[in-house]
Symmetry: D3
Subunit: 245 residues, 6 copies
Amino acid sequence: MSKKKSFWFDELSMPEAEQAAKDGKVVIIPCGSIEEHGDHLPLNTDSIQAEYVALGVAKKTGCLVAPPLRYGLCNSTRNFPGTITISFDSLRSIMTDILDDFIRNGFKRLLVITGHAGGSHMTAIRLAAKSVIVKHMNEADRPRIMICSDYDFAFDLRGIEFDDRDSHAGTIETSRVMAIRSDLIKGKGAPNFPNLPRFEVVPDPERCFPSGVMGDPTVASSETGEKINDYVIEQIVKLVKELEQ
Amino acid sequence: MSKKKSFWFDELSMPEAEQAAKDGKVVIIPCGSIEEHGDHLPLNTDSIQAEYVALGVAKKTGCLVAPPLRYGLCNSTRNFPGTITISFDSLRSIMTDILDDFIRNGFKRLLVITGHAGGSHMTAIRLAAKSVIVKHMNEADRPRIMICSDYDFAFDLRGIEFDDRDSHAGTIETSRVMAIRSDLIKGKGAPNFPNLPRFEVVPDPERCFPSGVMGDPTVASSETGEKINDYVIEQIVKLVKELEQ
Amino acid sequence: MSKKKSFWFDELSMPEAEQAAKDGKVVIIPCGSIEEHGDHLPLNTDSIQAEYVALGVAKKTGCLVAPPLRYGLCNSTRNFPGTITISFDSLRSIMTDILDDFIRNGFKRLLVITGHAGGSHMTAIRLAAKSVIVKHMNEADRPRIMICSDYDFAFDLRGIEFDDRDSHAGTIETSRVMAIRSDLIKGKGAPNFPNLPRFEVVPDPERCFPSGVMGDPTVASSETGEKINDYVIEQIVKLVKELEQ
Amino acid sequence: MSKKKSFWFDELSMPEAEQAAKDGKVVIIPCGSIEEHGDHLPLNTDSIQAEYVALGVAKKTGCLVAPPLRYGLCNSTRNFPGTITISFDSLRSIMTDILDDFIRNGFKRLLVITGHAGGSHMTAIRLAAKSVIVKHMNEADRPRIMICSDYDFAFDLRGIEFDDRDSHAGTIETSRVMAIRSDLIKGKGAPNFPNLPRFEVVPDPERCFPSGVMGDPTVASSETGEKINDYVIEQIVKLVKELEQ
Amino acid sequence: MSKKKSFWFDELSMPEAEQAAKDGKVVIIPCGSIEEHGDHLPLNTDSIQAEYVALGVAKKTGCLVAPPLRYGLCNSTRNFPGTITISFDSLRSIMTDILDDFIRNGFKRLLVITGHAGGSHMTAIRLAAKSVIVKHMNEADRPRIMICSDYDFAFDLRGIEFDDRDSHAGTIETSRVMAIRSDLIKGKGAPNFPNLPRFEVVPDPERCFPSGVMGDPTVASSETGEKINDYVIEQIVKLVKELEQ
Amino acid sequence: MSKKKSFWFDELSMPEAEQAAKDGKVVIIPCGSIEEHGDHLPLNTDSIQAEYVALGVAKKTGCLVAPPLRYGLCNSTRNFPGTITISFDSLRSIMTDILDDFIRNGFKRLLVITGHAGGSHMTAIRLAAKSVIVKHMNEADRPRIMICSDYDFAFDLRGIEFDDRDSHAGTIETSRVMAIRSDLIKGKGAPNFPNLPRFEVVPDPERCFPSGVMGDPTVASSETGEKINDYVIEQIVKLVKELEQ
């Protein structure tokens, strides 16, 4: 019989889930993607960062972590090998269902942490949350939903400690994965600072960064990654505490 | 640098994913649910069985396993605490995207293993697969998709070794979870053989089985579970081999 | 001026329909398909069986029969000549409208009898009913909807009097049509017991049974058909009585 | 074994359907509604007129008649007892499927005859036809679709022999039903010449004609109905001949 | 600081808009199209007539005019150069949003004036209005919506002063544009009285009137146009007054 | 007869539009919103800036300007009086139609300039453009679409000449409107630098800035506005030239 308390929501039994709802537990929903991250990082790079952070936050706050949604919407990297993307409508629809059904279950404090942070990916999640929040806005115990990417915080040091243009599969991301799953790293990668079209909507953005990298992964380190991961967890712990009020 | 070969598709790097497509690797997509399974089993019961089987099959065949989709469509258990369900349209839509995008990436042999096997859940996945298969039916290397539930095989022994009515959270399912994650079991459960309405579509089927159990979990055992899991893996290995031809 | 009482709902005038709703009449909605049934049976095979049964039940119970929906969803027979199929979404959408609008008219006891019983066809109807039932579940006089196929009963004798594999256009179906519309039978057909793929979703299932038959029509007889039809009517009369309570 | 040749498409067997497509047979699709037509006419008034005409045309031309779609879209009569209406999207969707699937079967000459002729009902059918025609417009044997209401012709005599405002359940319609199914007539009805709002979109148009009649049914006669029905059939025979060219 | 009172709704500031809603102001929503009108009239022919009329009515009644929606649904002219059309669903969807959001803002008296009056264009707007009206029908201050085309009135003189068949880009329309924006007229056009197929739904209706004209523009005059425009404004003023009651 | 060449696309006649397509003209599509902009600015603030800029660019480059779409998607200001918003799906759908139909007409170089620049508004337009571009990506003369907001450039001076937080209805926006339509300004407004929730999705963001202003409109001036407008035009002229290559 189980003793250890789990942070994963779906490791609970039915009565435990009922109790957790009554206790007003915050639930974190980690989102990722299956997306190329250069030759050196795994396709699950976005997913494992969000899940690592979610579990880190759960350990510090006692909140719960829902099963990750590892299927996300990848726009600029879609045509690279290995990227598996879902449509805007699929993402919006499933996120609407997930958020709404946690609320139906009595979980009124929800936090989405997404490791992938592309523009339309974020909008799909935000529209889902908005529709759910508006639907329940006149209820006595109005639900609350927050949405963040771990990169809302991880990029805080850009322009200070790291190159201002560091991004996808660059120094910060490579460092973070080194700190989380070093066994998944293949080689060092190569620096690349591409210019993506700012205004033109193109069908083949991969032409602008054939290596799939935006930044300099060669200067990444596990220590740096650990420091950033700790910082991100610390920041998101604040969000959970705000939700718990 | 990584040495060990991974069975998880999204642990691959971009070049490894490209190579895997060229090698004609079969990809298994495990699906589960977040669903009450009585007081004694965890909400992820369906998910962990499908994932355990998928990894078991991968180890024996060298095929790859995509990130699980743990959000499924639960009809009769929807109103129990802990069940988080998505809509038919969300499930059909995301499955269509996932199957279609693996094919776009060059993976032409796909196998969905779903631990949840409700009627509309299965139909959503089948319609997704059908639309994808029809879309590509005139291509030179026509893709192939199989869909099964591990319970298509696990129930083979029903009526022989187990009660003919054994089902949701009963002897077979409890045994299987005991063999996979005994740490998630809470107590022994209680036997229950409910009569669900066969023809009437009701809004509150939970009234017919308030304990959330259909079968007798008290006679379950880890050894039984192991035997069934092995048998299921063995059967699905055959499907993969058929896809590899 | 009309004397004879009609069982067809749409033969009523407006005031008669209003009265029937006040009287709490059960309404049966017969569904069929336009689908190949071998060389020997007509395309309306599914439709005429459901309608025959619906009228038979109406005569014994005094309930009403709505206009049949003869357009259904045919999956495995789609590519045979003569099969006219509608999409899952069309079927679900029109059934939702029909069920919901009968309830809006005050008919709170509805029974769908479908002569076609393919998996996605049934799911489309069930999802329609479910959404309607859930929508009205908190009303004082909560509506009730049942869904059955006449084959839920006609197949009861399979494995006893008939081959266990008897199915589409086989002994039972041919016999039933002989008893209903012998003028539409063309020849005797030929026995065929195909193996359809159990797990693979294929774009061309017709390859597995080129004659369009699953069973042995050669041993069919009108007497057998009559007996089965009577039995089916008897069983569905019980459903209507249950709805009338 | 059948001798008599049927005009109903779905009374054919699979090989007969295949032959009919090869023979270039025109297929008529009759559409109706379930709609109040005053106290004196049955709810199937629209349906039986369209089907009577369709069969009449088939007898004179040898074309085929598809199963009727008796579920239509009723806007102004929706709130009267007995009216069962489907949504615009359901009607458009199912008509698109039906037209498209007849064409897929090789029937390239289609004629929809709808007994109900409300504005949005007609637009739904027209949009369905348009999308299907455009989809196939570059094929060698471009399909052709015509859409008419029997009232496109039955109203030709309005303003000449009949009151210019004669319409729903009035002289012409009552006469036609008397000629087709006199057993379904209940009493004589009462004259009513309502003013419906021309520009305002109201939720309760029934307020403007509480008897559900627009015209004078009291002067209807079976002889008149027969004459009109013959005339309508004659006109639609011309359309079929045009399609056959 | 502004002195002059504007008739354009969106020239108001936020507090002025709030006040206008409290004052019960009628809001006119002008709709047009971008559509060929022969060689002699501009693509915005439909738009500028509706907007001219809307402003004329506003000046006489003090009502407000919302920003025009110049994107409409053109069916029979779609394949001519210059026609930019939107789909039925887009038009219905945006009109639903616009009407519903004015009502949410407290504007309960709305009048759509559309310069384009094709059948499916009108149905899209009517269905939008119907769904909005039905949604709010049980509210204390039930909103009211009227829909008209300026051609509902401009064609009143057809068969009297003008050819009965005068229509698209003909005498009336050319005259009206001459009176509104004579600077946009290019030449005189040529008379053309085409026969469009009455029942057949064709993919290329432009074949029936290659000049894009239906009527005789050569006899148009600015004076005629002015007279018609005044008449149309006068008629629509009556609708606004009816809404104001 | 017209002499002056128009920059408005829909002031062209059919043959002129055909010629413009052949000439490879760039078409600008201006988008706005109907949105509160404090007490001092009109609801059409976003629209008139985008249209002013579009015409300015057209005058310098000879490109064409399509009819503005003044209905946009307003998220954070939705609940203020005067804001009329359309849904994400409506905006995406109509923009998809517009872009696709210009391309069908032969206009392969399109530029959307939107005066409103909210996140979901921009994503709706971008997704529309992306779907259109991908649909045509394999055509010989592959179409090109650019999307920008005039605020992509107008905010270049933020943090230099203007407060870093200057935004909605602040110094820059007020100045620009003063330079374009000073007659629409009502008073001076009041400075307001609100903190909107960064992560929480709230149903009532208006609580955070009750005046509807984000910035300091009191230091705005017409001269500043003119300078910024010129700068924006200059920048967008470069985009048009890039499209013309």
